[in-house]
Amino acid sequence: MGRNVSVNVEYLTRVEGHGNIVVNVQNGVLEKCELDIIESPRFFEGMLRGRSIFEAQHITCRICGICSCGHTLASIQAAEDAIGLKPSRQTTELRKFLLHMETLDSHILHIYLLVAPDLLGVKSFVPLIDTHHEVVRRALRMKKGCNDVCDILVGRHVHPISSIVGGFTKLPREKELDAMRDILFKMRPDMEETVKLAATFRFPHLERETECIALVNDTDEYPFLEGDIGSTDGKRWKKQDYRKVTNEFTVPHSSAKFCKASRDSYRVGALARFNLNAEKLHPKAKAAADAIGLKPIVTNPYLNTAAQLVECVHCLEDAIRILEAFKKKGVDQSEAVIVGLNETGRIKVRAGSGVGAVEVPRGILFHHYEVDAAGKIVNANCVIPTGQNLNNIEYDMKKLVPEMLDKTDEEITLGLEMLVRAYDPCISCSAHFLNVKFINR
């Protein structure tokens, strides 16, 4: 079969960031299959040099509006690791709660507004306002719920105000705990409807076994904030050894910097977490996984969206658990930290190196800082989940295209777009994202 296919999707839509897909099939042979990143580089790691370690979180959360809380928490973890500060149990619980809200918010955005239009056969959620009015209202209501909780806890979701190195500048009081709990209680019926809706989704088929990487631990907690780095290939690393996992390397023909751990590529994100830690999910989340027929190990990349749904249920229920615990024991207001402690020298700094490894909506995120004795940043490195997934997405695309050669160009394009969207890529995070298309190769 001498089929030629040329796909060139400029400005891939419904992903957070800018990307192009380029595919070239000549005489039935796949010659090129790339996901190009065209986000303007912003040089965050370079800009951090010389700034105070206490400013790192404020700056790096602005790498991405969607994962702003995740970047905040990875940055704080790296900073605290570098200067040898151990957060209190209360602070850690509140940080886990904050991370749950962001994961829930981000997954809802992805499932309803970015993926559902494909599965319902429309171009965006806008036509759904007329045809699926209740579905759209529910999605927006759930997102608003997450945002309202973040407003109460940290001032706002996009670039949280009160979460800093050392803890929180403002802690919730009794009536604020109640307000947050009410919002989450009200979200439960919407979550039930969401699970029912997801059970009707028919995802495209593609099977490709790959290595999955996510945080793992020895407790019974589904890990988002604390743990070692684990792999479905049975390996385990300390977070300080993250470079042994990411192994960023350059491909001779494209200058693209890709990641690989034990094999050619690996995946991070909801599906990787599910494959590694499914047995630790909240019982209601396990029930949701059963309802939509999701069992580890899942090898269809399109089902990342289904794994996100399962995590939504988990995050909602675990967030309620954390709030209930605070309702019982109360919040110790004396733990509130004063911003600018560094200015008055109240937090001791020391020269050192620190790593933050946090599961953000799209997968494991690493921040790494080196600071001098005065607490100034000397070196900074951020490895974002989408960067780690990029290599894996290309392998998936290379598996998909030959299987679709009997389809029209439009169908192939849509299949590829849906595949890339399933990873929920966040290209605005391209703190350093090395995937460049050579013009003359």
């Binding site: 400005y11 839509t13 419904r14 992903v15 957070e16 800018h18 303007s40 580089p41 912003r42 040089f43 790691e45 370079g46 800009m47 040099r49 700034r51 404020h58 700056i59 602005r62 790498i63 991405c64 509006g65 969607i66 955005l109 507004l113 970015l114 239009p117 171009k123 965006s124 959620f125 806008v126 306002i129 209202r137 927006l140 209501r141 997102k143 608003k144 945002n147 940290v154 001032g155 706002r156 979701h157 996009v158 670039h159 105000i161 800093i164 500048t169 403002k170 350059t250 200058s255 910097k257 509130a336 004063i338 911003v339 600018g340 200015e343 605005s428 703190a431 350093h432 090395l434 460049v436």
Partner: protein, 254 residues
């Protein structure tokens, strides 16, 4: 008369401001009832003609310059929203460094593939009709500015200090707590968002055009705060103002 066609575009930014819009929840449906959104890449695949262009992000490559000029030509009205678009924002910190050095620091051998120019705010490249400052945007202000754009009257970003709002919110002055805060020299309009949550003002809405310089100097002297320290803080969001100052020196007011 048809509804005005609105297109959202993003340049170098975190896309947090368009997320602020998406985060309006069900209120978003009310806004969508008054306008016809023809382009919003993050959540839409449709593309079309537009009357109002809403721009997020800074201009940081020569490709950006060409793209924003084309958008300006097509749009009857252009709004810049968020710190990156209105004052350069955190992207401006790049201008503290020699561009070639920072490129090589981040991208090593591949630096040559990452073309970059000094960060600029949108109005430093094309004329801007409406400004909505802040990192991220404050939704009540965005709605107000959008309403002004829809009925064709100007919207002016408040040009008094954040301190005015902060006092009305009865916050204790951070200088009295021994901290440094950019509230006294930063444009109001955010309802002193950060200080209300016990953080300091980082100056994300840009400097007031006519700050009480002597008063500010007195404060710094009173609390023994070194000037370079304050300048360093100001350069987190406001480094790009230097382009405006150069323009003014040449007698061309933006």
């Amino acid at each position: 008369m048809g509804k005005p066609r609105v297109a959202f575009f993003d340049f170098a930014c975190c896309e947090g401001c368009q997320l602020q819009v998406a985060n309006m929840g069900e209120d978003l449906l009310a806004v969508l009832g008054a306008i016809d959104v023809v382009e919003f890449r993050e959540v839409m695949s449709e593309k079309g003609e537009y009357d109002i262009a809403i721009i997020e992000g800074s201009i940081t490559t020569s490709r950006d310059v060409e793209r924003i000029k084309k958008i300006r030509q097509k749009a009857k009205v252009l709004m810049a929203y968020g710190s990156c678009a209105t004052i350069g924002g955190v992207n401006g910190m790049k201008n503290n460094f020699e561009l070639d050095h920072i490129r090589r620091y981040v991208y090593k051998d591949a630096a040559k593939y990452f073309e970059t120019i000094p960060t600029r705010a949108v109005h430093q490249v094309v004329p801007v009709d409406y400004f909505v400052n802040g990192c991220p945007i404050y939704i009540p202000e965005f709605v107000k500015a959008l309403k002004c754009a829809l009925i064709g009257i100007p919207y002016k970003v408040p040009d008094h200090a954040v301190c005015v709002e902060c006092k009305l919110n009865e916050n204790e002055c951070l200088y009295d707590k021994g901290l440094t805060c950019l509230g006294p020299v930063t444009k109001a309009g955010c309802n002193s968002w950060c200080v209300n949550h016990n953080n300091i003002c980082y100056g994300c809405r840009g400097m007031v055009t006519n700050p009480a310089e002597n008063g500010a100097r007195d404060i710094l002297e009173k609390y023994k705060i070194p000037m370079p320290w304050v300048e360093n803080k100001m350069n987190m969001y406001n480094k790009v103002r230097e382009h405006d100052e150069k323009e003014e020196a040449h007698g061309k007011k933006c």
